[in-house]
């Protein structure tokens, strides 16, 4: 064999595996059942549902635990789950839930009202993770297990949004938690990597930093949404930090579903055979928050000038069309949202506002701070840089790690003039979103604008306890108009939520309140054939 023949033979040999690419079935399996492999970029360091709830953590919690109610669909609506029904007293203080009769924990224990009481009490007492949602309105001693299937909550003051938070309050098995508690830690250490739930899956192997393998509970009390022969044997969450390897693993069929891919990767994948990209309206608004207390952006005229100079259409182009401009301060999933006439690019108007500032001819330099490594945010900074040039404003684009960005935003003295932030709503509660513009939000990452306005503070406080639905919605409408008037933020867009998956994956259901890359894994299965 001469050198030429050797090279040809080697080339032919290498092309064999290439031709056999793209398996037509799930990569992982157990017996004749498939295992769904999901890949995302964020680990799950703490599984305890009362300590933590970021997107990757909540996705796993939803596999292992159940809540009284659950969000479903887009726009999200609350449906009964562990609770089959509920009612509220006329004064809005007492909420009574009736539990289903067949719920049980995965170790066989009955899930009763006492377990619900224990779980809410634990969540409040730990004062971590989810506790902020209810701690202002509910004391642990005001939760009562009336009988085995009835649980009653008595609030300190009326709170119409109470129900909207309950899908994030998962129920743990008191016996397992108590048995595994170390000292007075309420089982925190044990629940970091173990589960005491009633969900459709149980833990098979757990390394929150890299691989989490769950096995299906065949007799899950709520049943499975797919025909029994199609039910997967389990799900695996594989943490892959970088987007490129995640894309490669999906192409190879090592993973069935990938989240957190870049717009470019998704565009490429959408054109490939055996891969589909699910494109859904997103709920997390992207905003450029301006420092309303210190520096040039403390002047409302400069903030307005920036808002009218900005090129909003470029945002859509950056997302390759898969984004929607915001038409109000509230995201579309939030109750009480109204559509408003938002600032759009109008250079003449921008110059009019600029003329009212102490520096009508510009000559300013403003810092635009974004999360280092986030290419979309950097590109938006470039759009800002171009847009503000006609006003004589230079933009200094700075990328810093998220913790540093949040740390700097903690005080008006250290906050940048403009900071790029995504704020993901976790519920449909308008109180949560409206509170982002109250003085109490200053210093939190969603309050990097440090807005202080007495009218907004008053209306937020009134709306939170208003039982008359019409009055309540009117207050939220006024808040939204006031926020747009004060322009603490350049309201940008909500990027679509997109996942790429192998075409054999079935059962995907979009839920508008899914956080970042979160997906409901319970309904997924692999089509046979």
């Amino acid at each position: 064999m001469n050198r030429r023949e050797l090279l040809l033979a080697a080339g032919g040999l290498m092309s064999v595996p290439a031709a056999s690419l793209s398996p037509a079935y799930g990569f992982e399996r157990e017996g004749d059942r498939r295992i769904i492999v999901f890949s995302g970029n964020q680990p799950v360091p703490i599984l305890d549902p009362h300590q933590r709830y970021d997107w990757s953590t909540r996705m796993m919690q939803r596999c292992l635990y159940d809540a009284l109610v659950r969000y479903e669909g887009a726009p999200a609506r609350i449906i009964p789950w562990l609770a089959e029904s509920w009612d509220t007293s006329a004064d809005g203080l007492t909420w009574t839930f009736r539990l289903v009769g067949n719920a049980k924990f995965n170790n066989g224990d009955v899930l009763d009202a006492e377990a619900v009481r224990f779980s809410f009490e634990r969540g409040l007492k730990l004062n971590k993770g989810i506790s902020w949602m209810l701690s202002r309105h509910l004391k642990p001693e005001n939760i009562a297990a009336v009988d085995a299937r009835t649980v009653r909550f008595t609030l300190d003051r009326p709170y119409p949004d109470f129900l909207s938070f309950l899908p994030l309050w998962f129920i743990v098995n008191p016996k397992q938690v108590t048995a595994n508690a170390e000292g007075d830690d309420d089982g925190q250490k044990w629940l970091t990597a173990n589960a005491a739930g009633s969900g459709p899956f149980r833990i098979r192997r757990w390394d929150g930093q890299s691989v989490m393998a769950l096995e299906a509970v065949p007799d899950y009390w709520k049943g499975w949404p797919m025909p029994e022969p199609e039910r997967p044997a389990g799900v695996i969450f594989r943490v892959m930090r970088e987007s490129a390897p995640r894309k490669a693993a999906l192409q190879r069929g090592e993973v069935d579903v990938a989240s957190g891919l870049t717009p470019d990767d998704l565009s490429q994948l959408a054109r490939m055979p055996n891969i589909v990209v699910s494109d859904n309206e997103g709920a997390a608004p992207f905003a450029i928050m301006m420092n309303t207390q210190k520096g040039p952006t403390a002047d409302i005229n400069l903030r307005k000038a920036i808002a009218y100079a900005f090129d909003y259409e470029a945002l859509i182009a950056i997302h390759k069309g898969d984004a929607k401009l915001m038409d109000g301060p509230f995201p579309f999933v939030t109750e009480g949202r109204i559509q408003l006439d938002m600032p759009r690019k109008d250079l003449d108007r921008a110059k009019q506002f600029m003329a009212r500032t102490p520096t009508p001819n510009g000559g300013l330099e403003l810092e635009y701070l974004h999360v280092a490594g986030n290419e979309v945010q950097r590109q938006i900074g470039l759009v800002l840089l171009n847009a503000l040039q006609p006003l004589g404003i230079r933009v200094n684009i700075v990328g810093q790690p998220w913790p540093t960005l949040v740390g700097r935003g903690g005080s008006p003295e250290t906050a940048a003039a403009m900071t790029a932030v995504y704020v993901t709503p976790v519920t449909t509660s308008p109180d949560t979103v409206a509170s982002q513009y109250a003085s109490s939000a200053a210093g939190q990452f969603w309050g990097i604008h440090h807005l202080r306005d007495a009218d907004i503070d008053r209306m937020v406080a009134e709306a939170a306890v208003e039982l008359d639905e019409a009055k309540r919605l009117d207050l939220y409408a006024q808040i939204q108009r006031r926020v747009v008037d004060l322009q603490p933020v350049v309201f940008c867009m909500t990027a679509n939520q997109r996942w790429a998956m192998r075409s054999y994956v079935r059962g995907f259901q979009h839920q508008a309140l899914n956080l970042t890359g979160e997906m409901d894994l319970w309904s997924l299965y692999v089509a046979r054939g």
Binding site: M14, P17, A18, S20, L21, E28, R29, E30, I35, V37, P43, P45, I46, Q51, R52, Y53, D54, N127, K128, G129, S131, W132, M133, S135, Q188, K189, T192, D207, G208, Q209, S210, V211, A213, I236, R238, V239, M240, R241, E242, A244, P245, A248, A249, Q251, R252, E254, P401, W402, P403, T404, V406, G407, R408, G410, T414, V426, T432, Q444, F445, W446
Partner: protein, 335 residues
């Protein structure tokens, strides 16, 4: 010799103390608030304060430092504020994976780099030498992440020969823990299926991690071999009719190995640092990936723990190299 060893160990201890001070200061001058980040985006000030108390972050900095040093002296690295786990336990879990990767990468770099260095020296200025030098320059010049992504694309996606990442197939059951390194544990357990699976996962990350070391070893070994092959005693040996293989293998290589050994020692430390990038791209569950995840969350105790472990290994490796130097070259023993 013992006096020398004691002096060197005291030096290592001093260096470690310096490392502790530097990492502690850096961790505390960044504007990020680990408690606020761990408490979650919606946490109230009261919730953040709870976490600060729980992790002692509400104490004055000198007190925190003193407590940290006291804990270190007792072998405790503190607790991760993100997971609540003790860093020592986490390190025990993740260090073996990194060691496995480094051992494989170092073994490959030496097994390939040293013979190639000899070949390049023996066939100096021939096409063999030029080809090997291109390889050496590429190994140093090409960014590791780029090579990693390219290999993933070609070997995993296009040809389907190797998995894209991870340490073991997800469905595979890990072998019984002996060393903690799955490849060697599978070997010890004679579990050939798992061994093959673990080996296929290790090929790409170990290769990428080995490249800079391989290139350095190759270059140093080539240069030293050229120098030694031109020395008088080698010429004399050749004149006395000693066979070429014996001249290269025994006379030249032994003398050329001293600087190569020093390079290997230095590269071991670099390699441990290099795992941060390689483990991230290949999702290799070692201390590099652990440190990245912790750093992103401003979880400083794990970052400090990993820094100390890498620093300690680096210093000990250099100490071993120095001792080996003395063994290989008696002239350096008294120095």
């Amino acid at each position: 010799m013992l006096r020398y060893l004691a002096g060197r160990l005291a030096y290592v201890a001093l260096m470690l103390l310096g490392l502790v001070v530097i990492t502690f200061v850096i961790s505390n001058v960044t504007p990020a608030d680990p408690a606020a980040l761990a408490a979650g985006p919606d946490a109230t000030p009261d919730m953040v304060a709870t976490l600060r108390r729980e992790y002692g972050l509400d104490r004055p900095l000198p007190e925190q430092f003193l407590r940290y040093v006291t804990d270190l002296a007792q072998g405790r690295f503190g607790r991760s504020i993100q997971s609540g786990n003790t860093v020592g336990e986490d390190l025990l879990r993740y260090v073996p994976a990194t060691l496995q990767l480094v051992i494989l990468a170092m073994g490959f770099a030496c097994a390939v780099g040293i013979p190639l260095g000899i070949l390049a020296a023996v066939f100096r200025h021939s096409w063999v030498d030029h080809g090997i030098r291109i390889l050496a320059v590429s190994g140093i010049a090409l960014p590791a992440f780029w090579i990693a992504l390219l290999l993933q694309l070609v070997l995993a996606v296009w040809w389907g020969w190797l998995p894209t990442g991870g340490i073991l197939s997800i469905a595979a059951d890990p072998p019984p823990t002996i060393t903690g390194m799955v490849l060697f544990d599978a070997l010890l357990a004679a579990d050939w299926g798992v061994f093959a699976d673990a080996a296929s996962h290790a090929v790409m990350p170990a290769f990428v991690l080995s490249l800079p070391c391989l290139a350095s070893v190759l270059r140093v070994n080539r240069a030293e071999m050229i120098e030694v092959l031109g020395s008088d005693h080698v010429t004399a040996a050749r004149a006395h009719g000693v066979k070429p293989g014996r001249v290269i293998g025994l006379l030249a290589l032994k003398n050329a190995m001293l600087p190569t050994l020093a390079m290997i020692g230095l590269r071991f430390g670099w390699m441990l640092g290099g795992t941060v990038l390689v483990e991230t791209v290949f999702d290799w569950p070692g201390i590099g990936l652990y440190a990245v995840n912790a750093a992103i969350a401003s979880d400083f105790k794990p970052v400090m723990g990993v820094t100390l472990v890498i620093g300690l290994m680096f210093m000990l490796t250099n100490l071993l190299v120095d001792l080996a130097y003395g063994w290989l070259d008696p002239r350096t023993r008294s120095a």
